[in-house]
Amino acid sequence: MKYMIMTFGSAEAGLATMGKEWMVNMIQFMHKLDDDLRKSGELVSAEGLADGSQAKTVRFQNGIPVSTDGPFAESKESLVGYWIVDVENEARAIEIASRIVAFVKVPIEVRRVMDAPPEF
């Protein structure tokens, strides 16, 4: 079964407050994680996203779609990256997410991808 593991936050805030060592460790951690998931045959895809401040939101306004700057919710935290993994069960997806949480210490969302066969 496939799961999407999502991290939220702001790359900008991270860059501003954290030091060089943190950055280097973070990059190493992410490389190692991707590599481990690739080797275990579980990685479907993983992407990091540009900072939410660079996002555009397209809304339906006065009968036409209008593009404005900023992420949809206009909150400080937005999606910064995700992994899609194909794993044996939910427990394994949570195990992977826990490994990320233990390192980045911000909440991670784990969502099942709609890939189950229908029952009838």
Binding site: M1, K2, R38, K39, S40, G41, E42, L43, V44, S45, D86, V87, E88, R112, V113, M114, D115, A116, P117, P118, E119, F120
Partner: protein, 394 residues
Amino acid sequence: MRELAPQVLAILVRRHGQFDACEDAVQEALLAAALQWPKTGAPDNPRSWLTTVASRRLVDVWRSENARRRREETATALELPVVEVPAHDDTLTLLFLCCHPSLSVPSQLALTLRAVGGLTTVEIANAFLVPEATMAQRISRAKQSIRSAGMQFDLPPEPERAERLVVVLHVLYLIFNEGYTTSSGPTVHRTDLTAEAIRLTRLLLLLAPAEGEVAGLLALMLLTDARRAARTDGDGWLIPLDEQRRDLWNTAQISEGVAILTRTLGKAPIGPYQLQAAIAAVHDEAPSAKDTDWPQILALYEVLERVSPGPVVTLNRAVAVAMVHGPRAGLALLGTLEDDERMAHNHRLEAVRGHLLEMAGEPVAARESYLRAARMTASLPEQRYLGLRAARLG
């Protein structure tokens, strides 16, 4: 050609050991055959052609690994005549090996499709909608586990065999089920896993003709797959059994499934696959939804619940109870599942409740149940179907 894959692999493993290296070599021989045979025509003895090409490939690999001593041993081995071992037993042994309980379920599925089914990594990756590299890695990991656990290329000893067969059947059942996912992916590029599962189960029945549950699983697959053309409409919407166009059902598959079941029932110990097949047969043989023999289905579910109890069986029995004794009786039985933790995250309890509430003439409560079920399911076509049921009552 693909039915030769497990036979050739078994010959190599018997001769050289090293399951993982042999499996890679067979895969390459199959690819070579796929390229050459259309141009040159199939050789007179395709099995020995594949065996020779795969053996050469093995030697090349060992040579490039610079294992000189090994190479010499192998070169000697290659000159030995092909020992004609019964291919049947070998394919069965291979199936048991690929479905070894120490492998993860995704690994069992992938390895079975490649080593026994003879599918390429690309085909398997496409079928499961994962990148080829991921599938290649998963297969290679599975093979490493087999090697590091020192698993032998032998049939499991008799006391374990029944237990191990249960795992093999489960893997084939999951491959079949996975085929249903086709409705949510780019179908054009996907290997038909349902057909492959049927082919492999057919093969298994040839190898183990006395096993009632193997026959039961094959019958269940045929009787379920027979309804495939009627299961969805042109836009991919699911159509429930009672609304399906029965003239679209595959009558040849139904006859075959019923025939297999008829000659099996009573001759071997009864098991869950035979019972589920019997239930599918009652549905398939009904000329219309309203002519369905529900008392017979209910009786079969009662036996199934004794043989293989579980909340999903109870859930299905509740539907049969509702059809025989009315929706209230069905809803009362559903109530017994309320506190079952195994059902807490299962959308089917709410989906069935919605259906029975609708039957009982309670559209508001039914709508609530359908919506709850739609939120819980991880199947896209099912979510759309449940949403539609709710919308119809809105």
